[in-house]
Symmetry: C2
Subunit: 326 residues, 2 copies
């Protein structure tokens, strides 16, 4: 069998350069890379997993399916995934599916045609069966525990914490925004909230919201104060919705948090820069992305999977849209 | 030469299915696709550009280089690119480079290895020469007119408008935040601002800021009010910085816009939800992404390029961190 030295000699480069080509690290000129690859091919040099995949023309591409990258939750998720993949020499193809099945199927198909070696799906509508017949592994991200390989945060507990914190801080007429019905973690956190409220002795009411978009959030914010002008605590379905509610409350002259407490969900970067800054339930978004990438890489490498469903913790971030504990 | 009917017959599918495979539209089962591709191969059927590229195993992948997707400017840009590419059956590989040359070179190399047919680079440090020896076209996005194929907005005019609007609305001691020195459009807008301020008779001072990150923006906001406690107008380097300044101003009890006017840059989605909502200079971010994708597709298809440097207009968005015109 050929050695790395023989490859380097035939290609007319150093062993270090061959190694860089094999490990896909550092910069190698296109011409040089070509020479090295030809030498590898000619000598049938197969040193390790990386070289083998090069030789077999396997790709290092991973496909990521998202609802919409312009929702601030997803760039952080994507960033976590990419940072982890990059360490291992994998790269991201990504597609926004806008909750449309047709787009999702189209992307799955196209990614497969482009020889991706794995998929991460953070699509809400995703039907598991669309992924079952593929010959590559899929990790489901932010969709609860319904799938074999999944990474998610503890949405039910997050919903419970939000309700407990508002009650503890003195809200007595709480309005809950029930997030989109097709978004599984939004429904789980809603259930957690309702569980706590139902056991308490505060009044509460529920408003259903159909999406997480900035524009629609403004409309719902107006609706809440029209329907429930005397509400003194709002549990928003995410930070964007909470931001819109805070905006509307301040326009209407409400004093936050003295007259009205607001609690968000997610802890996106912008939330700490609002005034008053937003109290919220923090999901470890970036870490969720990293964990999903790690799990997928293990599956691609056929390593032993110790934990196939990874649940991360959430926590209350106390800022200034909630009162001090009494 | 073989016809599409013969391909359909050999593959045992309908002509419509063959067409879907060729045009990469609609959903086709993986098995069916394989049969059709085999039939195409066997009959050496070459009907059009799409089929030819399939046959030649050319990819439909485009590489996108970004500084950091978690800066809210970039998801909108990426979304514009993707929506346009998708219409034409192209797909996005993307990489965050964090303003690091090593990451940029690594992504260029990897994307090329993965047979991308074109690149869009929105990297600030990008050295044109890194792209010149590639055999595929590159479009530079949001980097001014320094490159042959580029899409950008009129940063200098944007900087001028920001200064004019603050002066017109009565600010007399204006503080200008000079954005990162390596970000070309930030420097152009700074020059535009200084040009107008220098010709006016208002006092002004300049603070340099080294990045656009959320965390650092908080620090600069504090610094401004320490150094220039009596400033009555702030021209921020972007909306994130403006958000941090507004936050700090309100903490310090300043009345916005009566005592202090603030103007941002970009018009990211969140800016209209601040309270008071942020007056800013709007860049057509999504459209810039679309235009870059269109230009790249024209280059890939070797079409005649009518305009190789596309400059889009910017405009003042009047909200509530500026006073009414007097």
């Amino acid at each position: 069998m050929a050695t790395i030295k023989q490859v380097a000699k035939l290609a007319g480069v150093s062993v270090a350069t061959v190694s860089r080509v094999l490990n896909n690290s550092g910069y190698v000129q296109v011409d040089t890379r070509k020479k090295v690859e030809e030498a590898i091919h000619k000598l049938e040099y197969i040193p390790n997993e990386v070289a083998r995949s090069l030789y077999k023309k396997e790709s290092r591409l991973v496909g990521l399916l998202l609802p919409d990258i312009t929702n601030p939750f997803f760039p952080e998720l994507a960033r976590g995934i990419e940072d982890e993949l990059q360490k291992e020499g994998f790269y991201l193809l990504f597609g926004n599916c806008d909750e449309k099945l047709e787009k999702e199927l189209n992307y799955i198909q196209t990614f497969v045609q482009n020889n991706v070696v794995g998929l991460i799906s953070a699509i809400n509508l995703a039907d598991k069966s669309n992924y079952e017949n593929l010959s590559i592994p899929t990790v489901f991200l932010d969709r609860g525990s319904e799938s074999e390989y999944s990474v998610f945060s503890d949405a039910k507990e997050g919903g419970r914490i939000a309700a407990r914190e508002l009650i503890k801080r003195g809200s007595e007429k709480i309005t809950v925004l029930k997030g989109p019905s097709h978004v599984l973690p939004a429904q789980e956190r809603f259930q957690g909230t309702i569980e706590v409220l139902a056991q308490s002795n505060v009044d509460f009411q529920v408003i259903s919201t159909a999406s997480f978009s900035f524009q629609e959030a403004k409309t719902w914010a107006k609706e809440i104060f029209k329907k429930y002008p005397d509400t003194d605590g709002i549990i928003a379905s995410n930070d964007i919705t909470a931001t819109a509610i805070l905006h509307e409350a301040l326009i209407q002259g409400k004093i936050v948090p003295d007259e009205l407490q607001i609690i968000g969900y997610d802890d996106i970067q912008q939330s700490s820069l609002l005034f008053p800054s937003l109290s919220t339930i923090r999901q470890p978004i970036y870490e969720m992305g990293k964990e999903a990438a790690k799990l997928l890489i293990s599956l691609i490498k056929r390593q032993i999977i110790e934990e196939s469903q990874i649940k991360l913790s959430v926590s209350f971030v106390e800022r200034n849209t909630t009162r001090k504990e009494t």
